[in-house]
């Protein structure tokens, strides 16, 4: 498949979306009872689980008197891709992903509030269909909020690419990823218009970069609205079951 028919003449993509549409995002907070916070997020066919432990006392060696240590672990399930393959946690790809996740999440967490502590974030990809990094960041944000950890704001991620040489596309699926176009991954703090992380899979022509980046940032904004709605719904359910007594109404 060549790059120029990623968008049909009718303006539709391979999965029937338009160029500036996200895949359907469904998410749920508080899916586990053992971790302090947890979330499950589906973005199209990409499915991710995130669990947050902490903040808890850091080991004496690693302990930092200034700010909290953020510890991430990204792993992909054996059955997550089309080809069944055992993926050990320590492989290069997951290690790189782990570092990138930590970078983006540390930008949002108010690190200085939790000295001498440690936050562990575990992310497991159950099904990979493009945009794994984005789904992981979005799920981790929800899990951090569920754990009651102070964040500056939501950190949201989205991908964008270029179709037919000049049309920017939002939220790239696996099929579009492998069919050749360059992919831009951005994690941003949408309210303050800051970028926490940015990565390109290939080179972009400088003329195209601004509009692709704009599309990705617009995607982050849209993701934030969806996440915010999910958080509010979750809070309403939990609060009303306890008659809002734990918040002193």
């Amino acid at each position: 498949m060549s790059g120029h028919d990623l968008i049909s003449e009718q303006g539709l993509r391979l999965d029937g979306r338009r160029a500036n549409e996200l895949r359907r995002i469904q998410c749920k907070l508080g899916v586990f009872s053992q971790p302090d916070g947890s979330a499950y997020l589906e973005q199209g066919n990409t499915k991710v689980l995130a669990a947050v432990y902490g903040p808890h006392q850091a080991a004496a060696k690693k302990s930092n008197h200034e700010e909290v240590i953020v510890n991430c672990q990204y792993s992909m399930a054996t059955f997550s891709t089309g080809e069944r393959k055992n993926r050990p946690r320590g492989d290069r790809k997951s290690q790189e992903m782990t570092i990138h996740l930590r970078q983006a999440l540390s930008a949002a967490i108010k690190l200085e509030l939790y000295p001498k502590s440690q936050i562990d974030i575990f992310i497991e990809v159950l099904q990979a269909d493009g945009g794994n990094y984005c789904a992981s960041i979005n799920a981790a944000t929800l899990a951090l909020i569920d754990a009651g950890i102070a964040l500056k704001e939501y950190v949201c991620a989205c991908t964008a690419s270029l179709a037919n040489g000049d049309i920017p596309m939002m939220d790239i699926s696996h099929l579009e990823e492998v069919s050749g176009g360059p992919t831009l991954t951005v994690a941003s703090l949408p309210n303050s218009h800051r970028i926490a992380f940015m990565e390109m899979s290939q080179r972009f022509h400088l003329d195209h970069l601004p509009k692709v980046l704009k599309t990705a940032l617009a995607g982050c904004k849209e993701v934030q609205v969806i996440l915010d709605k999910a958080v509010r719904e979750h809070l309403a359910h939990v609060g009303s079951a306890g008659d809002w007594q734990n918040v002193g109404k």
């Binding site: 302090d36 009651g148 500056k152």
Partner: protein, 298 residues
């Protein structure tokens, strides 16, 4: 021996949300602006908020609490944040010089100083070097204790004390861990329930269920552990039923206090103890309990 295994599809999962048509207070989410005119009204930033060029923003998801000019956002779930006077159930994780390190489910490990425990026998004196050597005899790694929060250090860690006969080492019973926010702050957290067991509702989300002992005060400061005498089966059944009821309420995010636990226990009587682990039973018990609590309130 045959066992019945209950496997259900994700699609036929029980929705255990006890949402009702109540009015929802205004909820804040991280990054949301709380107030923009700090300078004029001189609001003070409390927990769960942060300031960014004269604007106060929320940093956690929860409800607004306002005390005069202090604005704070309280999250619906977080690690245990200690307050002086709280009753906690905790586990010893380390024995150090003159103090024990204790896990209370809070952000940092808590400490129990040797000088803030009652010595066995209730002796009142300065703690000597011999006492330091004896520390592991009093409490060792893995022991569970009930204690009270004595003070909070600058870094937020908690100092405990057990200087009352009601606190001390716990012997036979069941520990249930729930999220700390589900335990309601009450005047008393020690309850001898009428169903025949006693419960310690730790503010830190650790709940201890034990057979009721007749409360003859022994002057030992709570260091004796009775691990030899077996607990009778009916008592054990009451304890397990209570455990399942507490887990059912916690599963449905209902507040835990003496009345809610007792109601849940009574509502659960139509189920066998092991049936209380099924989602349908959990939801039914929680729903009926909530209904009774609301009737009670009105």
């Amino acid at each position: 021996m045959t066992t019945t295994v209950n496997i259900r599809l994700a699609s036929s999962r029980v929705n255990n949300s006890l949402m009702n048509g109540d009015t929802i207070p205004h909820l804040f989410t991280p990054g949301e602006v709380i107030t923009t005119i700090t300078a004029q009204q001189n609001f003070m930033r409390g927990h769960g908020t942060y300031g960014e060029d004269d604007i106060i923003k929320a940093s956690v998801a929860g409800c607004l609490e306002r005390v005069n000019k202090l604005i704070s956002i309280k999250p619906l779930k977080s690690r245990y944040v200690g307050e002086v006077g709280d009753v906690v159930v905790a586990r010893i994780i380390d024995v150090q010089q003159k103090r024990w390190k204790v896990d209370t489910n809070s952000r940092l490990d808590s400490v129990l100083l040797l000088s803030s425990v009652n010595l066995p026998g209730g002796e009142l004196r300065r703690r000597s070097v011999e006492d330091e050597h004896m520390m592991r005899k009093y409490l060792q790694e893995g022991d569970l204790i009930s204690a009270e929060v004595q003070s909070i250090y600058d870094d937020g860690s908690v100092s405990l004390h057990t200087r009352s006969l009601k606190y001390g080492k716990l012997s036979q019973g069941v520990l249930v861990k729930v999220f700390p926010s589900l335990v309601k702050r009450r005047k008393t957290h020690f309850h001898n329930l009428t169903c025949g067991a006693s419960v310690i509702l730790g503010n830190n989300g650790f709940i201890w269920i034990a057979p009721t002992v007749n409360s003859e005060v022994e002057g030992d400061g709570g260091f004796t552990q009775n691990l030899t005498e077996p607990v009778a089966r009916p008592e054990r059944e009451v304890i397990t039923r209570l455990r399942n009821c507490i887990l059912a309420l916690a599963n449905c995010k209902m507040m835990l206090y003496d009345t809610s636990i007792l109601y849940a226990y009574e509502e659960s009587m139509k189920y066998r103890i092991d049936e209380l682990l099924h989602q349908e039973a959990i939801f039914d018990v929680a729903f009926l309990t909530q209904h009774r609590l609301r009737l009670h309130d009105e």
